[in-house]
Symmetry: D3
Subunit: 306 residues, 6 copies
């Protein structure tokens, strides 16, 4: 048991009491938008950008948060402060926002917001144990047969929690290898994204990633591109396909918790010589420099304690 | 306030206490499968069929309910009995099943079920006020620009709660008319389904509805086809498009709460003469006969009390 | 009644007598290519570019105009001169070219040009009353459910008059708002064009518009990009989707008559703060400077007289 | 020169004076719906069905004809009577309806009907010279690279005159053979229709044609299916592809003027032994019996006089 | 080493000498059409149907076999007779036809047949060891991420040897399970076929299989449908998707060597209770009856000797 | 007859004896990857790049060549040396690699490599007679109705010999003109590639070609882009469509044997004035300079001798 506190619609409650009604539209309709920020040195990284994207998601879903972005930021930082003592020095955490349209009337009009929204904000330990080994040996990236939901059905950039298809795609990828990480293709067969992450490859020294026409515009994706440019690595957004990944020099996935997760195997084939490559290493180092945390060490320390 | 009770993972609790953790995969990942049964004369209608479909959804999502279908039925009927006194004679209710994979670890492997599933079962008053006027005047059916999630991304027949795109499509339809009911097209432009219902049309005395290649295999859909056949109405499952609906003789939507909702307007155009047609009326009467409840009267009574 | 004259296949006739046979392929087969040039200070703007595009359309449709581009220009300028006195000082006009394959034999081979082409050239008052209010308050841009005709069926760059689908899409958009302007998506859900105009957005100071893979290569589009570059605004041609428009900083549509029509609402959502933005204003000013006419004033003057 | 008369919006005028304004939406926007009926023994065949389909097209395009279907029929029959003396005994004619939304304001709102519609009705000699040889030797059916406009862009069942893409597809087919008749595929590669006709094949004694999901619901198509059924030939509507046509036993195209046009060659390959087959002949005979005219003789007589 | 003889373009040669030039279009262009017939009791099963399909493939590929179908049959039966002594009593064999356009000039026009075709006909032992265990325990059917070549690129019904994509799909399926058998989806996500076989399922006593719009029209498929009908089992050709297979009562694959291969697992999920079902058993028995060979016993005998 | 020698799996044999078993997976499954290098002045051009691409194809197809890339190069150069005397001074040749997975067991698991691979390496005279006239008069480029195999079925960049669809598309193009060269569109209607070549166009002085998302990444394509850049010609990789080609200033196809083949006609329409354009000539000259051979003269000399 822990002493962490959670913010729910204006209240600060112990994690164990952090509950919402089963009649909430989060539960009944997957009607939730979300952001997951992480801290480095217990400072939330790019919180402003996360909140800006959150407010774009509010706009597209017509959820009225009934809070300004400044209020949202204020309570978020307060919550982080409240929870500070639950984390050790050098320990980092998630800061998660999950907001639904609120109470849902069974059989009612789902397009109407009939109550206050349900604003859930919480911190969670930044558990990196699952991913820690991948920094040095790389993960196995696998394309499942399930295809990405197309943007004309639901744009991946609306960061939401109606994500069952992600879990199903991940289950399929893990039929190949229990440790596999999914590389989901779109309905045209182009590389879209990982469940929760963006796909990158290195070819001839250039960093290449899909445009956001078929995937989330990840903030870690954007930061990685910034870091690459600061290291004089050319960055290209393009249509990429399985052939590109299979014949790339290096490959990795980006996401909030791990920043960069090297992939050294793709559908059973080694990427290049099967080792984490030099540009990837440079970019991970760039990340460590950028955030003031040795991100590999932080993850591996968890692994060793584990 | 009410005295209704809810079943949550083995416990019977008052509705006001029916809450789940914000760390549940229902909230975090839209990772929930569901069924909504309704009663007629307070008897659950086709409960066995609903539970069979629920167990198909468990299979496809690899959620382990940790209960047999017989146990699920038993607790469902017990819950209905417990709640009986909260409903008046002649009043009917929803019996809803909503089951998630359970606890979700932030940043964990979503493909793994790490805890007991969260089994939510509850009853809700069968509120028909929104739909009641449509039995006699028909609704306005509207096609939103958003397209159905294709089956190669997430099959609509897995009845789940990752349904944000439904709400967004419904919002778009309601831009045309605040009372509009959505007719969602698939990515090829063929008619798929209503958010929560199936689309039917009558042409030259025949009942026509899309195949289940792009929509939920609704149990109300199936019952309507059975009733039609029992009335010697030919039933055809086919690809249908907006042109077919616009030039049909009659049109309606089927769903659990209202059984049949006539549509007399489609994208601003009247269906035939703009009145509810004779075959639709016959099918509604067939439903009333089949379930032993005058379904129009039941809905209109609510409207008048309202 | 007016004294305007029209050129039809070599004859100059009063507008009231400007008629073509109902057996013309323009009427029977929508077999017409076209250009609409406008004047600024009664000088035709980019007439050469319009005629060049017209001759590309001739080529693709295999219509033989039986006139060189120089002859076409000569008669066009002569017609403008003839009509000059029908327009007041400071008044501008359309100069429209509409050319069909000519006589069509009912049941004949449509691929053969069996007669002289029908060359229609005329001027029309530049009526801006419908659009004038949008310069300051912006229009409401709406995506209809109908999708753009794909280029593998008929390339939008062949500027033609087989445009029924445009009218139907516009009718659908106007179901949402009688003043709505359509934003037609292509069959993949990407933004294509407005009926008669191109779509632009501003994001982070950059001007973004779809590539011409799914839309007309508008000359007003091209001029707007030139003006933007001359003002040191970066111009990007890319795949854009509804999400991009909804979260853009500014949005507008370009077309010959109004040059730039700001959009401040998209599918019911405000664009940014719902006001015409600074880059759009700068570009409109750029247009006014470029053409030597205060384009907002010209339109608003019409509105006030109206 | 001839004495035929034409009906234009209430007036009966000589054909030579049958003209419409170049500002008509027929000319400016391809905004016209249409029907082409033919006579057999100078009686219009299935005129009621043609007018019913015309009124469906009015509905979908929101063109208000400002005439009831009965009035439309009355003036049509009167026009036929007026023109009777222009046709010899045993000669047949087209009876064509072409109706536009009327006057179009350059730069105005195309969705509004601002004037009376333009109702054009006329007769034309049933010239069968082009097709006559095909009854006995069969035509060469060719698939052009251009694909059918998909129904989500413009449903082929709205019989309209925005048909430039048809002419372009026909031009492509005629690159292969100047006498080729087009077999247009849809964007999925399935057989859709001929420019102006429906595609049929015979396989193992069964008559097979595409469903109307991607093509016009031709009245000649429907009559052919009726005749086939009356001759105990099984009729199947299905997805068909080039392979099916190439390996069929017989193939033909149906359209109003020629009823049935056998195809004995497909993309350079003979259909079966390259001769018109027995089922096709039986169906042509069935047509002749049904309409009381020897349709082959009628066409060949024209050819010989020619 | 064996004594089997092979027919190559008119010569009978020992298998060891059965070679073709590396400049043959079979090797250089995958320009080969093929049939694989098998014997039962050493009689070739449906040889006429196989040869008819072969001649359809010749037609579509414009390969001129320079032999009539009767000559092809004659040499095939002669070859079988020649090889008879190489097979034991009760042993069966493949009779394979593989015919290419012949010599290919490097850099020449591939559309021209510049030489005699290369006609390869041979027999091979009917090795059933790989599949034998599946008759009783069922195989694991797996959907690879690679999608079926669409018919608008190359119709699967042209039975050809340009089949690299089959091998790649099969490799992907075997990443999940080394014994997996592929279930290849088409680009719309619908079930197409197995590399070399057709997919069937049983639901509520009915036998369901995809239409041939996206797969080979297998002769074993057709025979299985005939046998089913003779056993009063309803047969349906329809669009089917992964959901259908996963929730089917029984599933199997048909192909020439094994006739019917039950599948009891699909993407890691059991089909029904995970055992070979009663309808499948009945159909296998129907096959044994039809061909006069106990097909399970024949396969298992091989397994035991193995 | 000639004295050329061929390398087959370790043996050097006369061309006439260069044969492989009809049981090879090259013959039975189109299971072959390939490269075609040509010499200039009898030096193989970009052999390293060809072999690197070959090894990418091995990787994607999981064919194990059982030779290192260095060994492959060594035997290739040795073979060239051996054959040198068969070619005259100033004569050039092909150096072709064609490697299959080896022996294929009829009915066996195609995903397994059960034997040594079959490594075929040979030289062939560089016969340019077919193409020679096109350097000065240009070829006729034609789009067939068949569409490119999409990358989600088989990526065109895996240079393989399962190419029947190429031959069929080429046959269709040649229905229009026996000398036509195919311009194959992808399933979205975008320009993909020529059977064996890449498509380029010049517009406003810029060199434009499709990205490799739907076509082979041709080495001649890449060299042409390098040469263009060295001549200060801007190079753009983009989506291009038939309209772009038809309205381009110049058009050509690139492939190993001819380097650049100008196209002066497209689907019956002249490209610009129908003559080979100045940028194309400059690029051909650039090629001649780059490789030290007057490529036009070399081809025309063959023509004259022919």
């Amino acid at each position: 048991m822990n002493n962490r506190k959670v913010y729910i619609s204006g209240e600060i409650v112990p994690e164990v009491d952090a509950k919402i009604s089963i009649f909430d539209s989060a539960v009944l309709l997957g009607d939730t938008v979300t952001e997951s920020t992480r801290t480095f040195n217990f400072k939330p990284f790019k919180l402003d950008e996360h909140l800006e994207r959150l407010y774009k998601s509010f706009k597209l879903t017509r959820i009225d948060p009934q809070m300004t972005i400044e209020e949202m930021k204020k309570v978020s930082l307060e919550l982080l402060e409240i929870n500070k003592d639950n984390y050790k020095t050098n320990e980092d955490c998630w800061l998660v926002h999950n907001i639904s349209r609120g109470h849902s009337i069974t059989g009612g009009n789902p397009a109407l917001q009939v109550s206050k929204p349900t604003v859930m904000i919480y911190t969670q330990p930044m558990n990196l144990v699952l991913w820690a080994p991948f920094y040095t040996k790389g993960c196995h990236a696998v394309t499942p047969p399930t295809r990405m939901v197309p943007s004309q059905s639901l744009d991946a950039r609306i960061k939401n929690r109606s994500r069952l298809f992600y879990t199903l795609a991940e289950i399929e990828a893990k039929l190949v290898d229990p440790d596999a990480q999914s590389v989901i293709l779109d309905i045209h067969g182009n590389v879209a994204e990982n469940k929760g992450g963006n796909i990158f490859m290195i070819k001839d020294g250039k960093l290449i990633t899909p445009t956001t026409a078929n995937c989330l515009e990840g903030l870690t994706r954007n930061s990685t591109m910034e870091i690459a440019r600061s290291l004089d690595i050319e960055v290209i957004e393009a249509v990429i396909q399985s052939y590109d990944l299979a014949t790339s020099d290096e490959m990795f996935i980006t996401s909030t918790p791990y920043s960069i997760m090297p992939a050294t195997k793709f559908n059973g084939m080694p990427i290049a010589d099967g080792n984490v490559g030099p540009v990837t290493k440079k970019l991970i180092q760039g990340w460590s420099d950028r955030v003031g945390v040795d991100i590999i060490k932080q993850a591996e320390d968890q692994l060793h304690k584990h």
